[in-house]
Amino acid sequence: MSRLAPPLLGVLLLASPLFAACAPAQRGEPFTPRVRPASAEAEAGERVFMRMCNECHPGGAAGLAPALNNKPLPAWMIRWQVRHGLGAMPAFGPEVIPDDELDALVTYLIELRRTPAPTG
């Protein structure tokens, strides 16, 4: 039991942002300046996001599913979640989102959540 405690604690720490939003999930126009991808990779990531993620997480905010632009997940965990799914979220294999597109998507998602959140 004691050997399991550290990883379990780590998981709980990592998972805690999933249960409690860290900041309002709304980002970009009309609340804040539009989120403009700062690099070609982020721009490519935005297109992947719109094709694969926007239906359930519109604009990165909550919709059918929880918000993902206010959760400080590390890049490796975002990749893992996309590849394996989580809860009701389906898995997206490399035949659906190739590795280079997944890299671009992660870059865009991290950029999205760095955009200041509105207050109110």
Partner: protein
């Protein structure tokens, strides 16, 4: 190793959590009239201003402009929740008051669209009871039906009604069901009690896989088995051919303004609600996609914006966009089996959507910006009615209740007009005076003001379904800060 273990434990912690949480749709709220109206509660990008044009309307669904730029709206009459009122065509005066031009028969509501051409209005009659119609209405109120008995007596209706650059009037007919199988959900809608034999009709012959679904029989008790494109309680056979016919469900048609036979443009849609032509003269439609309800529910299927190719099949009921419904776990409902394809042979390969919009957003009437002074030329401004959860499925937070701006070239979607509260929702949910349920967005003839038709309050509950509230609809418009547009009901109203 630690990462992998952490991820596995995370799944153990969160797997299955989705269905433990209750839905939080924007309609799931109490409403005490009167509705408040306050343009200041609607956020738009810097440089734009929101104005209230008219209020106190009952279920408005569309706006158009006569030859002199006069603003006109249609009130639906019928609304989900089995509200049967009188559909009307209204002129909106500069002071925001409404003058009745014509009224329809409540059997032919909901009126869902209106356009103006060569001195007359062309109204799209949804036809919940009497079947869909397209009717020409003179400014003095005289009416002439151009086509009738369109198969609109189910979940979805005859929609749209917009003139193309070729001089034809384009309109659509939605499907009777969520995903081609009549079920108990249709009983709750109300129509299965009225029309127990009604079902979807394809536009072309389809060969079925013989996939059937068993459901309770709310009329006679016990259980019944129903196949795709079949009446409730009628099974299908593997290899059986269902005959196509015109008119049919889930299709876009066109008709000459003087009447005559309807012409099939494209098919295989679910509920193609909004129609608009781009500056290049290309037809686009918004499609309300699958719900998580009925005998064949789908999960995670967002609304779509399509560029319409003549003669193409758009995938319903075996695809969402260009993705098959049985693609991995993509559309698996958390509490039901993976959707199974009901067609033995595909009538075509669905194209790729122009944009993917939020699940349950009910992305409806839209228009393209064409004036540089307004901005975003070539982009589509789409009104999102908002979720009808819990009837259509669960949502984490309110979805829709806004106008989004879509770049059809890249598929990028951005909010354009949305209530200021965080998280945004309908005004009745946030407690503000902003938007309730935007159902159509259309530019004025000059392209300088974007008019937003706001259906009004429609609350939702598990027990009572949809509860639309008469007299709570409104017409808004968005203009550039530096532009003045004559008329309107004022900055705010009680």
């Amino acid at each position: 190793m630690v990462r992998g273990l952490s991820a596995v434990l995370l799944v153990a912690l969160l797997g299955g959590c989705y269905d433990l949480r209750s839905s939080d749709g924007g309609g799931m709220t109490a409403f005490e009239p009167p509705r408040r109206y306050d343009p200041a509660d609607v956020a738009v990008p810097d440089g734009y201003r929101v104005e209230l044009v008219a209020h106190g309307l009952t279920f408005p669904t569309a706006v158009t402009f006569d030859g002199r730029g006069g603003v006109h709206v249609v009130e639906a009459g019928y609304a989900y929740g089995e509200a049967f009122l009188t559909p009307r065509l209204l002129r909106i005066e500069p002071d925001g008051s409404a003058v009745e031009i014509a009224r329809g028969d409540e059997r032919f509501g909901p009126w869902t669209g209106v356009d103006w051409r060569d001195g007359a209005f062309y109204v799209t009659e949804g036809g919940e009871v009497g079947g869909g119609r397209i009717t020409r209405i003179e400014p003095d109120g005289a009416q002439r039906v151009l086509v009738a008995d369109l198969p609109s007596r189910g979940d979805h209706h005859t929609n749209g009604g917009v003139f193309g650059p070729d001089g034809w009037l384009y309109f659509s007919v939605g499907t009777a069901t969520n995903s081609a199988v009549v079920g108990v959900d249709n009983w709750h809608f109300g129509w299965l009690k009225r029309f127990p034999d009604f079902h979807d009709t394809p536009c072309r012959d389809l060969r079925l896989a013989g996939v059937d679904y068993t459901s309770p029989d709310p009329a006679g008790g016990g259980a019944v088995t129903t196949g795709a494109f079949k009446p409730f309680g009628e099974a299908s056979r593997p290899g059986e051919v269902v005959r196509g016919a015109i008119p049919c469900n889930g299709a876009v048609f066109r008709i000459r303004p003087e009447g005559g036979p309807i012409d099939l443009v494209a098919w295989g849609f679910r509920n193609p609600f909004g129609l608009a032509f781009s500056q290049e003269g290309e037809l686009y439609v918004t499609e309300n996609s699958y719900d998580r309800r009925g005998s064949r529910p789908l999960f995670g299927a967002g609304d779509l914006l399509w560029r319409v190719e003549r003669g193409a099949w758009y995938g319903w009921p075996d695809f969402h966009g260009n993705v098959p419904v049985d693609a991995g776990d993509r559309f698996d409902p958390p509490d039901a089996d993976r959707p199974v394809r009901v067609l033995a042979e595909l009538p075509g390969e669905p194209p790729r959507p122009a944009a993917r919009l939020a699940v349950h957003s009910s992305s409806n009437g839209f228009d393209f910006s064409r004036d540089p002074a307004f901005g975003h030329v070539g982009q589509a401004f789409v009104a999102q009615f908002g979720d009808q959860s819990p009837t259509v499925g669960k949502v984490w937070e309110p979805v829709g209740y806004r106008v989004v701006r879509v770049d059809p070239g890249t598929g990028t979607v951005q909010d354009f007009a949305v209530n200021r509260a965080l998280p945004p929702g309908p005004a009745s949910w946030t407690g503000g005076g902003g938007l309730e349920r935007p159902v159509a967005a259309r530019f004025d003839p000059e392209g300088r003001a974007l008019y937003i038709v706001d259906f009004g309050v429609m609350t939702m509950s598990e027990e009572d379904g949809s509860q639309p509230r008469p007299g709570t609809g409104a017409l808004w418009r968005v203009v550039r800060e530096d532009r003045k547009v004559a008329g309107g009901a004022g900055e705010a109203a009680p």
